[in-house]
């Protein structure tokens, strides 16, 4: 009985299996082809392509595997897709990055750890049980601690790694404590069982609240929400740009996937029916969404206000990514399918624009040796394509038409207004205005300022240009033609166990 169920589960576990195989093969290839860093890179890339194929095969599946521990549903598949595409981009970035390629002897481990991190995020996206949630998070975090300190010659990279570990240990400790309280209240770890247990017997409300807050500490750390964001600027600045970009998109996506599934499946009240379509209620009116609303306001406001003072572009984008976590939290607060769909849509858009911005930072830093905002002076003339691309990515991050970022924000705000969360929408809008200010500082340096002293043109290779266009075209295209994305986001809302 058990054996057949396990064998059946393995058949729906192909993407993860491919990732583990890629991890092992990449690692071993580094030992064999010692002086050829291209070999592990190519193996990892092929492995991720196969993973992408396997993920696409899972489209439409809606079940749990391994005794209900892991969900394979459209929601999980969507986030696995986001993680896989991001990983593919990061592998390409790494191939072009001087910073990464200088440490030839450790490159195989670098690529292997990226696939391990992707595996961790897959498990986070599918986790239907708090045990799997914690394990997926630990796998992701462990890999990212090491990768953040990859360029260990640079002292700020080691510092970033150490800070990351300390904050990570603290917040996973808090989260585990919260989980232990929840387990003590209900005697189960599975999301669906938790929902039944909480629905059937009113638990101690205060204990439930404290457990939820402690668990939010763990989620907040992964999505870098205030006040659990302290690691973000230092890690983003110290880590190699490729890893920073990876953390800012994939790691955040996995964290959000876990958070949405946890709150929706555990706290949904299936007995309340008198609600407009696509809305749901929380058990006993337990207002965890108000907690998240507070978190969201704090996150975007602090992220945006502090970003105004930053002069290092990586640090600026770190604070901007904190702010974006705040915007996306708004979509969860409203307790509606429309809100969740907006978050999913935002992630597709965010993938292209944020990776694009980090890619330009990487290209410029590799050529000028600086991530300082002053080194962007006159970039629009020294490297017109880079300058224009950066401008478009930043406009998109601000959320102005005709870019994809506008569509992302539009759907988020529409969901908020639909659910009558007017004040939160206003706070979000004010924050977008603030964000325009610091993004505009970059435009001004790129186009309105003359370069200081060295007016050397910054040139990039043909392959780099193609990759840049692959990121740039969707950022513009999805701003004009977005209905397939909306359909995809709406179709990906199905979570196992919630009807």
């Amino acid at each position: 009985m058990m054996l057949t169920s396990i064998l059946e589960s393995i058949a729906t576990f192909v993407p993860e299996t491919v990732l583990v195989a890629t991890f092992c093969v990449t690692l071993v290839s580094g030992l064999i082809a010692r002086r050829k860093p291209a070999v592990p890179a190519a193996l990892a890339f092929v492995g991720m392509l196969v993973t992408l194929w396997a993920v696409l095969q899972q489209a439409g599946t809606d079940r749990t595997i391994f005794s209900g521990l892991l969900a394979v549903d459209p929601f999980a598949v969507f986030f696995k897709g986001i993680v896989t595409v991001t990983t593919l981009f990061i592998l390409l970035f790494s191939y072009f990055s001087t910073e990464v390629q200088t440490s030839v002897r450790r490159l195989a481990e670098y690529y292997a750890l990226i696939t391990a991190m992707a595996l961790g995020m897959f498990l986070m996206a599918g986790a239907n049980n708090m045990l799997m949630m914690v394990l997926g998070m630990e796998l992701t975090s462990l890999s990212s601690y090491i990768l953040a300190g990859f360029t260990k010659e640079a002292s700020d990279s080691s510092e970033a790694s150490l800070k990351y570990i300390i904050y990570g240990a603290l917040s996973s400790g808090l989260m585990l404590y919260g989980i232990s309280i929840l387990f003590g209240l209900t005697g189960t770890l599975g999301f669906a069982d938790l929902n039944h247990a909480i629905a059937n017997a009113v638990p101690n409300y205060f204990a439930l609240l404290v457990a939820t807050i402690l668990i939010i500490a763990g989620f907040g750390y992964k999505i870098s929400a205030v006040p659990f964001h302290f690691w973000t600027p230092d890690v983003y600045e110290g880590a190699p740009v490729t890893i920073t970009a990876f953390l800012s998109v994939a790691s955040k996506a996995a964290g959000f996937a876990m958070l949405m599934r946890f709150f929706k499946v555990v706290f949904i009240d299936t007995s309340v029916l008198a609600l407009p379509a696509g809305m749901w209620a929380s058990l006993y009116g337990f207002e965890w969404n108000k907690l998240l609303a507070v978190l969201s306001v704090l996150t975007m406001t602090l992220g945006n206000l502090v970003a105004v003072w930053q002069n290092n572009l990586k640090r600026l984008l770190a604070y901007s990514s904190i702010a974006h976590a705040g915007y996306m939290l708004m979509g969860i607060v409203v307790l509606s399918d429309k809100g969740l769909a907006a978050v999913l849509l935002y992630f597709i858009v965010y993938l292209f624009m944020n990776l694009g911005a980090f890619y330009v930072v990487m290209l410029v830093a590799d050529r000028t040796g600086s991530e300082d905002i002053d080194s962007y002076k006159g970039l629009g003339y020294r490297a017109p394509l880079l300058g224009v691309a950066m401008a478009i990515f930043l406009v998109s991050l601000t959320g102005l038409p005709p870019t994809a970022g506008f569509i992302g924000k539009l759907y988020l705000f529409a969901a908020l207004l639909d659910a009558r969360w007017i004040w939160l929408a206003i706070v979000g809008a004010i924050n977008s205005v603030i964000s325009l200010y610091y993004y505009a500082r970059v435009f001004r340096n790129m186009f309105l300022r003359d370069p200081e002293g060295q007016a050397t043109p910054v040139s990039i290779g043909r392959a780099q240009t193609v990759l840049l266009l692959v990121l740039l075209v969707p950022t513009l295209l999805f701003g004009l033609y977005f209905s397939p994305l909306v359909d995809l986001a709406n179709a990906s809302l199905v979570m196992v166990g919630v009807r």
Binding site: A116, M132, L139, K152, I181, G184, L185, T186
Partner: protein, 168 residues
């Protein structure tokens, strides 16, 4: 007071006392030795919970393995044995407020909550075989993922610790 309760408190005191030494000691070797007793006390508490397998694992792996490794690590990096580690305290007031609020909340919860208890008697006297069946049955995925987590930790530790050749 029953003998049972007395022994429980003995273990509790061992655990907490040793843990306090780990945190407050300025000498890293002393802290490492105290950690040994803290782990030992926790093993005793596992025995009280009738978790025999976990208790033995705790003794073998934490008390026997990890603490010894920590001690070796400390002694091999012998430059640090005589050096006092920087253990200054900063931001004392906010830390005290925050931690006491957290501790108060948690203690309050432990007093006031009706924890879910099962009246079922234990299925068997030892837990090892039941655990084994669970680990290779319904919980086979976490079991395997844990091996992946350890593998990543191993690769990472090797990568961080490896000596780099000076670029010539």
């Amino acid at each position: 007071m029953e003998l049972y309760t007395i022994i429980f408190y003995v273990f509790a005191v061992i655990t907490l006392g040793a843990a306090a030494i780990v945190v407050f000691s300025r000498n890293i070797v002393r802290a490492a030795f105290a950690l040994l007793f803290a782990f030992f006390g926790v093993a005793g508490i596992y025995v009280f919970l009738l978790a025999d397998f976990i208790a033995v694992t705790q003794l073998l792996i934490y008390v026997g393995g990890i603490t010894v490794l920590v001690l070796f690590g400390v002694m091999l990096t012998n430059r640090q044995v005589s050096v006092d580690i920087k253990t200054g305290t900063m931001q004392t007031l906010p830390a005290v407020i925050l931690t006491s609020a957290l501790a108060g909340t948690l203690i309050g919860i432990f007093w006031s909550t009706d924890w879910r208890v099962t009246a079922q008697p234990l299925a068997s006297e030892t837990t090892a075989s039941a655990l084994g069946e669970l680990l290779l049955g319904p919980y086979v995925l976490p079991f395997e993922v844990a091996s992946m987590v350890l593998m990543v930790a191993l690769v990472g530790a090797a990568m961080v610790a490896r000596r780099e050749k000076k670029p010539s």
